[in-house]
Amino acid sequence: MAVLSPRGRRRQSVGAAHRRKQAIVAWLFALPFVAVFAVFMLGPLLASFAMSFTDFTIRDIRDPFAVNIVGLDNFIGVFSDELFRKSLLNTFYFVLVGIPLTMVLGLALAVALNSGIERFRAVFRVGYYTPVVTSIVAVAVVWRFILQDSGLLNTVLGWFGISGPDWLNDPTWAMPSIIAMAAWRNMGTLMIIFLAGLQAIPSEVYEAAEMDGAGPWRRFTMMTVPLMRPTLLLGAVLLSVGFLQVFEEPFVMTSGGPLNSTLSISYFVYNQFGYGAYSFASAGAYVLFALIAALSAVQFRLLRSKDV
């Protein structure tokens, strides 16, 4: 039909008016969030990106637009900064060792709690989850005390004839100590996520495998792990986004030392911010952001391609 009847045209314009009204109402609903989001998330996110291409320092704080554009200088600067490179390596160390360790602990707990344990299951779940809800600062303080030269850990090791190092003051052991603490604090989260994943696997699958004579280890490696792939990947994504940002643990436990062995990327950025080198710090922060985005993209691609 080439020409709309008057009635049709009217109905259409009523629909348009209605849609416009709904759009306005919808944006009213979104407004408080959008305001906070724009001012304290999107704005700073873009500002920090722009800042990383300028020579903005603490002196420009009252007049942010009176700065010079310096191109990629800050990015070249951070990558030629020995401390930044060290913080990159330290962060990779933390992530590459910390994530598998935490995943294994979380999966072991989930499998144990899912293996026909009925009594006290809730007690275990709550107990193992406890470190997750506590303040990192508070538990880092306690761990610092436990890891002292002649503290609790070395006393217990002494019972077995092991003389432990001065954990946090030894450049070799400071990072492993922080990793152990991070694994302790995060395994509960993975336990909960993995437990939900395990419970989604139908029990018939296991019964069939058991009939075929598959032992527990075989059932675990050939069935549980492949069937849990999406959940395992999700755990890895969540954990790596968090672990790449590690800050509180080295801040409270080692102040980044000894010999910068626990200086993380976030800690480097925080220090540069403290020195007033705002644009330099922003470049460092964006390197971290890029790492997190790239890693998440890879992991989500894996997640999407093989499963779902």
């Binding site: 709904q22 919808a26 969030f33 700073p44 920090s48 344990i117 909960i192 911010f273 985005a293």
Partner: protein
């Protein structure tokens, strides 16, 4: 006639058959025993730091320094706690943490459910873009926005004030995501019926949608409270005098420098920071676990 094997009183097959059945039953019991033992030992090791923290908070400085270490406090003392309450302004730190957390939780409950409703049940231009932006910011590291936020807050003259501690967290992407996902599940028919009856969107939201959102709101309240209570980097930067310190900031600043060796004080401080959240956790643990499962899995 029946094929069901009945235990016979005698016969050659009897022993091996019952043995097999018994061992089939016994093996899981044995492995279950091993699992229980491992779980109990692991749990003890997991919770040991908390016990050590609590015990340490009642020890004197001399005892904490004494070697070999002691397990139970030899001369239990409340000194470490009284120092927090008298010399350090614990009341002020607690008030700051509570005020910030309560306002942040309320803001998130209201704002995130509103935008969640719009995203789930209304059509408007820019809807997809808004939701994508929200999802993308879920993984923005805190240090990326730190500096512009500090420049902004200091230009607004808000450094070292409650607004600086509260405003940036009044509405977060996790809350939006959580509320949208839940509200999507509320039947359209219900909302359409109310609209046809002439209810405006605000009425529909407050009368129909919100009353059904109890579970996600509880989850969101707990997640946000937890995040606010344990938040560290931003309060560390904008709280510049003791009167604005939140509990973790106070604890961290007393754990460095010359104060760093007063372990009793630090243990007591840790107990004071951790106890409120642990009590809350024990009472509401179902919601905590739900929160992690919901924000993690969906």
């Amino acid at each position: 006639m029946s094929n069901i094997p009945t235990p016979t009183v005698s016969g050659p097959g009897r022993d091996s058959a019952t043995d097999a059945r018994r061992s089939a039953r016994r093996r899981p019991r044995l492995s279950r025993g091993v699992t229980y033992t491992a779980l109990v030992l692991g749990l003890a090791a997991t919770l040991l730091p908390f016990a050590w923290m609590a015990l340490g908070s009642f020890k004197t400085q001399g005892e904490l320094m004494q070697r070999p270490i002691t397990w139970w406090p030899q001369e239990p003392t409340l000194d470490n706690y009284t120092r927090w309450l008298t010399q350090l302004d614990f009341g002020q730190f607690l008030t700051n943490s509570v005020v910030v957390a309560v306002v942040v939780v309320l803001g998130n409950l209201v704002f995130c459910s509103m935008v969640g409703y719009a995203l789930a049940k209304m059509d408007f231009p820019g809807k997809r873009a808004l939701f994508l932006l929200v999802l993308m910011t879920l993984m923005v590291p805190g240090v990326v926005t730190l500096i512009p936020m500090f420049v902004l807050v200091s230009n607004l003259g808000l450094v070292n004030t409650y607004p600086a501690l509260i405003l940036p967290f009044l509405a977060g992407p996790i809350g939006v995501f959580l509320m949208r996902q839940f509200i999507l599940g509320i039947p359209d028919a219900l909302i359409e019926a109310a609209r046809i009856d002439g209810a405006g969107e605000f009425r529909v939201f407050f009368r129909i949608v919100l009353p059904q959102c109890g579970p996600p709101l509880a989850t969101l309240a707990i997640l946000t409270f937890l995040g606010s209570w344990n938040n560290f980097l931003w309060p560390l930067v904008v709280a510049q005098t003791e009167s604005m310190y939140t509990l973790p900031v106070a604890l961290s600043l007393y754990s460095v420098g010359s104060n760093g060796t007063y372990y009793g004080l630090l243990m007591a401080g840790s107990v004071l920071v951790v106890t409120p959240i642990l009590v809350l956790f024990l009472f509401l643990q179902r919601f905590f676990v739900q929160g992690i499962a919901m924000s993690g899995i969906k």
